[in-house]
């Protein structure tokens, strides 16, 4: 049993990161119907910038803050310079734009920083905590705690604040939101900023465990994307559950079947879910209007 618990714990840690990436996807998707393939680069930027700010002598919390703010800036710029001008373009064009953005960000990172693998120390030490016969890294608690905090924070934001409700209204019906006086352009900016911040935070939290380099983004984006689909695109609860579930499935596959095929397991599950429930686990059923 300790083995199972160990796999579960590591699965939840990785799953929490997927959930954060998926949440980022969800926020942007809801506000703009765009699936942002550059979401993984936000995570990468969060980690990489923290590494270099910390290396330059900044204390870790300051380095993390710099990283998150810079990433937010990148996210907002992506929206202003690329997504807004391409409004109304077909899905395939939008896919290429965000994949292009992802390649661009990766390319620039590799020039500004380097191609090495980096890490910075865990926030509260590396002493493993015994947990039901398994062990848990303190940093894992940070990651899972961070994901849950973000989720609760988003929930409160979307249900309790006027701005949050404006975002939801825009997601629901853009034109109607405009008619009641919501500045949908601002909602888009906010969504990209928020999404970038969440991604960067995930990068800051997980880098002490998984390490980072300029090219970790695309893999994370695919997994986060898959998690969002698994849960049902556009549903924050789905993103959280989808992410955690995906992490656990991966960890179990790696533990009991084959570590080589852990990524395959994730996609097999997603294909199965999509076939059985084309809208994902929590996705709303939509009726075509003609």
């Amino acid at each position: 049993m300790p083995e199972l618990m160990q796999f579960l714990l590591s699965g939840l840690t990785v799953g929490a990161v997927y959930a954060l990436v998926a949440l980022g996807f969800t926020i942007i998707y809801n506000a703009s119907d765009v699936v942002n393939f550059a979401q993984g680069e936000f995570v990468m930027l969060g980690g990489m910038i923290t590494v270099f700010a910390y290396g330059a002598g900044a204390p870790l919390p300051l380095a993390a803050a710099v990283a998150i703010l810079t990433t937010v800036f990148v996210g907002v710029a992506l929206n202003k310079l690329a997504i807004e001008p391409a409004r109304g373009a077909p899905v395939v064009s939008l896919i290429i734009i965000t994949i292009g953005a992802s390649i661009l960000i990766r390319g620039v990172t590799q020039i500004v920083f380097d191609k090495q693998i980096h890490r910075f120390p865990a926030f509260t030490g590396d002493a493993p905590i015994p947990f039901f016969g398994a062990t848990l890294l303190p940093q894992s608690l940070w990651v899972v705690g961070g994901a849950l905090t973000v989720f609760v924070g988003l929930y409160l934001f979307f249900t309790k604040t006027l701005t949050g409700k404006a975002v939801l209204a825009t997601a629901n019906n853009r034109l109607a939101a405009q008619l009641v006086g919501i500045n949908t352009g601002w909602v888009m900016t906010l969504s990209f900023g928020l999404s970038a911040a969440i991604g960067a935070l995930a990068g800051v939290l997980v880098t002490p465990i998984t390490l980072t380099s300029y090219d970790v983004g695309i893999g994370l984006a695919l997994k986060g994307f898959a998690a969002a689909m698994l849960g049902g695109m556009g549903n924050p609860k789905g993103a959280l559950v989808g992410g955690l579930l995906l992490g656990v499935i991966e960890a179990m596959t790696a533990g009991y079947l084959s570590s080589q095929y852990k990524d395959a397991a994730a996609f097999v599950v997603i294909l199965a879910v999509l076939f059985a429930m084309p809208q994902g686990l929590f996705g709303a059923k939509s009726t075509e209007r003609v």
Binding site: P85, I97, I99, L104, G107, P278
Partner: protein, 318 residues
């Protein structure tokens, strides 16, 4: 010049393929040329799937992988000629596309994208992990097609790069001819109809599921043959041929050039195949520039490079 017209397109392609070598300073350019033709063939398949039928696949490199490894493995394990292996690969890809496409194509937009992406990743992973058969991530040698030897016996001495330039050029022309035939045929019309309005297509009797599947299978065969040619030309192949980036590359080439027309998409293949060769001059700026080009074209030239250029020229004339 009307972009859609079948004979113009074929003529333009043929002329370019024949005339270009007169300007080649070295045999290296023949190699780049055949790479363009190989990519162009895959991209022509994407035109059928995405340009005609409006369906997005992010996993077509999976079929290129099947085609490529069929040429690497079938001669070893089945003892068949590499040329026959290409056909086996194409049939296998078509069959797999038929099986996978059925459930996948019920999905729309991004969902279809991620489902096909999942398929592509599974193929790439299989090729990487089953190392005892596929040679694993380091790749595997591919048998000689034997045409050069045959020509030598007949008394013709040709350089490998030149031979492949001609072979792949012919394959591209055949591929383009097929895609153009399809465009104006009843099937092509039904595909374009379901692209324009799926619900209206259904009401005029188009079996949407069946037609999407046909487009998926045809484009898979194109990708497969393209993968086979790549393997046979290089005499070596790695699992990267089936990777996510190769899938994205195919779609990007097609859409960048103009996915609505065969010529546009092949133009996109030419640009994106040569760009990295040019960009090696910029060394480490390569990625940044590539990403930037992808974004700029899609933002400012939404229909793709060639249609936008054509519009510009037309505008000047008037």
């Amino acid at each position: 010049m009307k972009l859609g017209s079948k004979h113009t397109t074929l003529l333009v392609l043929a002329v370019i393929i024949i005339v270009a070598p007169f300007f080649f300073p070295s045999s290296y350019y023949f190699r780049v040329g055949s790479l363009i033709f190989i990519n162009g063939l895959a991209v022509t398949g994407i035109v059928i799937l995405t340009g005609y039928a409006g369906q997005v696949s992010l996993g077509h490199a999976g079929f290129a992988g099947i085609g490529a490894y069929a040429c690497a493995l079938a001669p070893v394990y089945l003892g068949v000629h590499p040329g026959l292996a290409l056909i086996i690969g194409a049939l296998l890809s078509g069959a797999i596309a038929f099986l996978v496409g059925r459930p996948i194509l019920r999905l729309k937009g991004y969902y279809l994208g991620v489902a096909s992406l999942g398929f592509g990743i599974l193929v790439a992973m299989l090729l990487t992990n089953e190392a005892q058969i596929t040679g694993g991530p380091d790749g595997i040698r591919v048998a000689d097609l034997g045409i050069r030897g045959l020509l030598r016996e007949m008394g013709f001495r040709v350089k490998g790069s030149e031979l492949w330039y001609v072979l792949t050029g012919i394959c591209l022309l055949i591929g383009a001819w097929l895609a153009l035939n399809l465009h104006d045929s009843p099937t092509g019309r039904a595909l374009r109809a379901l692209h324009g309005s799926e619900v209206a297509a259904r009401t005029v009797g188009v079996d949407v599921a069946r037609l999407k599947l046909q487009a998926f299978v045809i484009s898979a065969v194109f990708a497969s043959v393209s993968g086979s040619l790549l393997a046979l030309q290089n005499r070596f192949i790695t699992p990267e041929v089936a990777g996510f980036l190769h899938s994205v590359e195919m779609v990007t080439m097609a859409v960048l050039g103009g996915v609505g027309s065969v010529l546009g998409a092949i133009f996109g293949a030419a640009i994106l195949t040569t760009l990295p060769q040019v960009l090696t001059v910029f060394a480490e700026y390569e990625y940044a520039v590539l990403g930037l080009v992808m974004m700029l074209v899609m933002i400012f030239l939404r229909d793709g490079l060639l249609p936008s250029l054509a519009k510009l020229i037309k505008g000047r004339e008037q």
